[in-house]
Symmetry: C2
């Protein structure tokens, strides 16, 4: 049979990162291309003992169908913590649980965008989100990143001239792929523009807890008096990504539509992971655990940047992030980036070509993304050595 696919899917390609991850897994390749949390950050013993408790004390809660909005105690705990720690959540907001932040991102697009509607995003931006928007049939417009966040004048220009803009998608803290943190001033400016043009903001904050330098910048959601911001968070980087638990804080009216859409996608998020996340937040030293993760990433990031500086400081530029998992390295114009990445892979180091993160993959780009959370310390040292010889 000749299969004819929907327009939104027909042209979509698998994520380059996922494909690279698949191709390099199990092989002898240094995985600078990945975005996995360091396995040493997983609190295995406490997950194991909590799981036993759950399956002994209330197995039916963990194994039976649940409601689409998610496990109530987890929702309540998150609402309280987001308010107390980050001043997020107004009376008009509500929170529900998703199967990883990716689902929150996809649902926001699904409920707000018709096919052909526009989403403005940072350029470069997270390929997983871009592909998710594409598979909903949204049209993407990229606005360049500067060292302190999205280019504000160009954002306003896009809001003014592009048709049917429904969302501005941002990763304000330790952005993927650049590692850049948007300044408070720019966060305020983005919010003001969204209000002015009546467009919602999708604030994606998977790395927010992973600050290992400097001080927190308030989230855009914490400024949201008008109900303009859909905020997406995740347990993937602080507990475990394999459990697939994230959450969405959004105006109730928007949340209700997202819940209906989620119902049609997976009914609800797996219960055992939700109950685990709740116990992790309430019966464990959550703050101490996060501090230990920050310490690990502080060490790994420093190791990587020190070696980059020593071996490649003269030839490339790179971001020096205050948190998160990624560095963004830019080659001199004379070096063809895709060739460089291919040669690096052939020499045993996988990095992600910067073009993967663009709205149009054929735009000029001389950068690549590297990750310091997945490789071991030894691999970081060896990998940078290899990159310096490419």
């Amino acid at each position: 049979m000749d299969y004819v696919f929907s327009n939104r899917i027909a042209s979509l390609q698998p994520s380059i990162i996922r494909e690279i991850l698949k191709a390099s897994s199990g092989h002898n390749v240094i995985p600078f291309s990945a975005g996995n949390p360091a396995a040493e950050t997983f609190p295995v013993e406490v997950i194991s003992s909590f799981t036993q408790e759950i399956l002994t004390q209330d197995p039916v809660a963990a194994l039976q169908y649940g409601v689409t909005e998610g496990y109530s105690p987890l929702r309540e705990t998150l609402k309280v913590q987001l308010k107390e720690r980050f001043d997020m959540g107004q009376p008009q907001d509500d929170l529900f649980i998703v199967s990883g932040a990716q689902q929150g991102i996809e649902l926001a697009c699904k409920v707000l965008c018709n096919e052909g509607d526009t989403i403005i995003c940072e350029s470069p931006s997270f390929i997983g989100s871009l592909n998710s928007f594409r598979s909903s049939g949204a049209r993407l417009v990229g606005v360049p990143m500067e060292s302190d966040g999205i280019h504000i004048e160009m954002l306003e220009q896009a809001l003014k001239t592009e048709k049917n803009v429904k969302l501005v998608y941002l990763i304000p803290s330790f952005q993927n792929p650049t590692g850049i943190t948007t300044s408070l001033e720019k966060r305020k400016a983005v919010y003001t523009l969204a209000k002015k043009y009546g467009v919602m903001i999708l604030e994606d904050n998977p790395y927010g807890e992973l600050r290992f330098k400097g001080t927190d910048v308030p989230t855009i959601k914490s400024m949201d008096d008008e109900g303009l911001v859909i905020y997406v968070g995740s347990f993937s980087k602080v507990l475990s990504p394999g459990l697939r638990v994230g959450f969405v804080l959004a105006p109730s009216e928007v949340m209700q539509k997202m819940v209906v859409a989620k119902q049609g996608e997976d009914v609800h998020t797996a219960m055992l992971p939700q109950i685990l996340a709740h116990k992790f937040m309430t019966e464990y030293d959550y703050q101490g655990h996060i501090e230990s993760i920050r310490e690990i990433y502080r060490r790994k990031c420093t190791l990587m940047t020190e070696h980059l500086e020593k071996l490649m400081g003269d030839s490339i530029t790179y971001t020096n992030p205050d948190g998160g998992l990624f560095l963004w390295c830019s080659l001199p114009e004379s070096v063809p980036m895709l060739e460089y990445c291919k040669t690096a892979a052939a020499k045993g180091v996988a990095v992600v070509p910067g073009t993967a993160f663009l709205v149009q993959e054929n735009e000029p780009c001389n950068s690549f993304r590297i990750n310091f959370s997945t490789p071991s310390d030894e691999q970081i040292v060896k990998g940078i050595e290899i990159l310096s010889t490419v």
Copy 2:
């Protein structure tokens, strides 16, 4: 802010069943409205010990990111078992893991249907699927059910006259909501029509293992030499619905697109539940466990039908299913169905009005769905007594 939602979502309402479930949970209502497996079927002890083994022997596999296609050993085991036990799977097919069968259904629609394209479904049909199709913007056309499955002549008429038909959606075994099993003859006829009109079949088989009477009828997928059938299965009714693990067997080319779409929805299905499902299939008496579930449902269904016959046999008609979880009861024309359901709820028995399962909720319908897996034996007896007095 005045929120403007996408066309596909704006008109969508939450599933009536889910809402009833929410409203009746924790209250003193007899839950004939639910579709939950009996909690006594959950193999709690073995899930608990398997979980311990997983988190001791290979915690990183359970907690780290996985590939979108799913946990390889589970995929391989399922492929072998589906082939050996049900003769399903041709060289052109492949299998991947989804976060419950619902996701497989949603993805099939997403990759094949543009907004406005048509899906033909049985009428009545499973409301979760209908709402999922609606939230993708598909147009639904219902074809009436007969006692041995979909009305074949009317199906052909619909295939001939409806525009842009992309899928025929069927639940051939112990259908939700009717409990009807499509005859082998009709399965063959549906397949022949799909081939003739070049339309794919979405075969949803969540209850296939729950036969407690009679002999298995071959799946439509087992006849699929032409690569026309997307087959969706689930662990929800044989292991646990809260774990959210299902699978899709489909032509590889279609599966690849579904995997790309899944990537944008939840990256991958939670790993711990996938590894649990694999251990359940390979290190446990899977067949013995299924036989014990069948025994429970045989008893519960018999209890329900015996009491129905005794107390209401003169006033209503009902299906007598060979498996699954549901009975479909039809009132005499003189009794207004919605009034009946409301009065039943007021008297403490929740049933689902048949209109919930129609493509157009305002079509005439004098039936309601009742479930025998969720209520206790006592509740079944008491609930039927109450229904007989309404």
